[in-house]
Symmetry: C2
Subunit: 276 residues, 2 copies
C-alpha cells in the first residue's frame, strides 16, 4: 500500500483516504464521492478493527461484505482499496498504541473505555500505510471525528481531515452498518433518536438555551420508545466536548441509545451564532 | 519542515533524519555522518523534549548549545535542521500520545516510568514533520532503540531505523551530553561502567553463560567506585528484552548507574553464536 501511495505521490497525484469497517451504506459512499471529487486518487480502507471492540461487543457478528463493498467503492470513485487481514495489521507481540486521554473521557468513551484507543491506533496505521493528503470521516461519529482531528494536530500527521454530513434514511434514521441488526419494532423505535434531536432543535430555535432543558426534551422523546435504553444524551462544547450549562457557543447534542441489543448514536450541532 | 521534506521527496531525494536533544558530542556527529553518507538530505532535529523528563529530572539544566550544534551539524553533512520550540511542539490542551507498553516495563522504564511515552510521542511527531526515509539512533540508548523500532513496526511508519555503534571517549566512557555534569572524581568513577562491561565480556568470552553470574561480575566492578550507585545491571534478550537465565541467544548486558547525581547508561551485546 505504501509503495502504491509513494508512487502516486511521485506522480504528483493527490490522495484521499476513506477509512471504513466495510458494510457500506450511503454514508460511506458519500465519503468516497467527496474524496473522489477532491483528490486524484481515492483509497478506501476496509478493516473491521478488533482493537476498537470490547470483548462484549459485536466484533464477530459485525457485517462483512467485502466483495459488494469493493464494487460499490469502485462505482463511487475509489481508485484503490486496502483490506488488510487482522494478522497483517497486528503482530502477536504488538505493544505500541496511540491514545487520546481527554476527549475520550466523556460520551461514548465512558461506556466504551478502550474504544477510542483502538480507533486512534488503527487510523494512525492506516494513515501511515496510505499516506493520504486528505482523510474523510462522517460527522455521525462526532467524538471520533474530534479525536482523530486532535491526533492529526498533536502528532503532526501531514494531512487534512475532511468531515462530511450525516446521511439519513428517508425517515430520518442515521445510516449505520448496525441498522441491519434491527427487527421491525426496533427499526420503528430507532426513529426516536432523530425525533429527539428534532424536538431539541425546535426548542433551541424557539430560544431555549439551557443545556439541561434541551437534553430533557430529547430524553422525553426517546423514553417513549419501548425497546430504547438511553446510554447518554448530552449537550457539550462542539470543539472540545467540555461541559456546557448555557448554550452560548456551538454545542453538539449527542446521544447514544441501545435499541434492543443494538447501540446507535446520532447528533446535531446547535449553533447560537447562526439562525435556523 | 513538512513542506521542505515534501519538496525534497518530489525531487526524488532520499531523506535521513537524526533526532537529537542537542549538546552534540561525537556520538551525535557519527549519526549525522552515517545519514549524510546514506541519504541525499540529512535533517538534524534539536529539541529538548520536556515530555521525556520527569519533574525531578534535569530538563531545565540539560545542556543547550544550539548555535555550535548547528555549526557542527553542517560541518558533518546535515543539510537541514529542525529546532522547534516547546510551544510549537505541544499545545496546552494536547491529549494524544504514542505509548509502548511492554518493552518499557524493564530497565530504564522501571525508574523512569513516563520517559519512553515521551520519547515515542516526540519521535512520532518528528517523523511526521521530517518525513524521512531513514532515521538514525545510537545503540547507547538500547532500550529506546528497540522501542522506536517497535513503534515503526506497530504503527507502520514508512521509514527504516538505522542503529549506529556507541562512540566512546579514548578512556572508554560512552559519549553522553550528561558527561559534562561530572566532577573530576566522578569522571574517574564513571569509567567503572565500561570496565564492568569489559569484565563481563571477558568472563563471557571465557565461557561464562549464566546471566546472573555475568551481572554479578559487572556489579562487583561498579561497587568499587565510591560515587557510583547502581540503578540496574541486567542481561536481557537483545531482541525483546525478556528475561534470560542461560545466555543461549544474543543478550544485551545493560546498566544504569548514578555517578553522584548524574545518571549514566551503557551496554554491550553478548552473542553466543559469534566468537570474540
Amino acid at each position: 500500500m505504501q509503495d502504491w501511495s509513494h508512487a502516486r505521490r511521485m506522480e504528483r497525484k493527490t490522495i484521499g483516504c476513506v477509512p471504513t469497517m466495510g458494510a457500506f451504506h450511503r454514508g460511506h459512499l458519500s465519503l468516497i464521492e467527496a474524496s473522489a471529487s477532491d483528490c486524484d486518487e481515492t483509497i478506501v480502507t476496509i478493516f473491521v478493527n478488533p482493537l476498537q471492540f470490547s470483548p462484549t461487543e459485536d466484533f464477530r457478528q459485525y457485517p462483512r461484505n467485502e466483495e459488494s463493498d469493493l464494487k460499490l467503492a469502485r462505482e463511487n470513485g475509489a481508485t484503490a482499496a486496502y483490506c488488510p487481514t487482522v494478522d497483517a495489521m497486528y503482530y502477536p507481540d504488538r505493544s505500541v498504541y496511540v491514545i487520546e486521554d481527554t476527549l475520550k473521557e466523556v460520551l461514548c468513551g465512558k461506556s466504551r473505555p478502550t474504544h477510542f484507543a483502538g480507533v486512534t491506533t488503527v487510523v494512525a496505521k492506516l494513515f501511515n500505510a496510505c499516506l493520504p493528503d486528505r482523510a474523510y470521516f462522517g460527522r455521525k461519529d462526532y467524538q471520533q471525528l474530534l479525536i482523530i482531528r486532535r491526533m492529526v494536530r498533536d502528532l503532526d500527521f501531514p494531512l487534512e481531515i475532511v468531515d462530511c454530513p450525516i446521511i439519513r434514511e428517508p425517515d430520518g434514521l442515521a445510516m449505520s452498518s448496525r441498522n441491519m441488526y434491527l427487527g421491525d419494532k426496533e427499526r420503528q423505535d430507532a426513529l426516536s433518536l432523530k425525533q429527539a434531536l428534532d424536538a431539541a432543535r425546535t426548542a433551541f430555535d424557539k430560544g431555549e438555551r439551557n443545556a439541561r432543558a434541551i437534553e430533557n426534551i430529547a430524553r422525553s422523546v426517546i423514553e417513549k420508545a419501548e425497546t430504547a435504553r438511553i446510554d447518554y444524551i448530552e449537550c457539550r462544547d462542539a470543539g472540545n466536548l467540555s461541559e456546557v450549562i448555557d448554550i452560548d457557543r456551538p454545542v453538539v447534542l449527542a446521544l447514544a441509545v441501545s435499541i434492543g441489543s443494538t447501540r446507535l448514536i446520532d447528533n446535531i450541532i446547535l449553533n447560537p451564532g447562526k439562525e435556523g
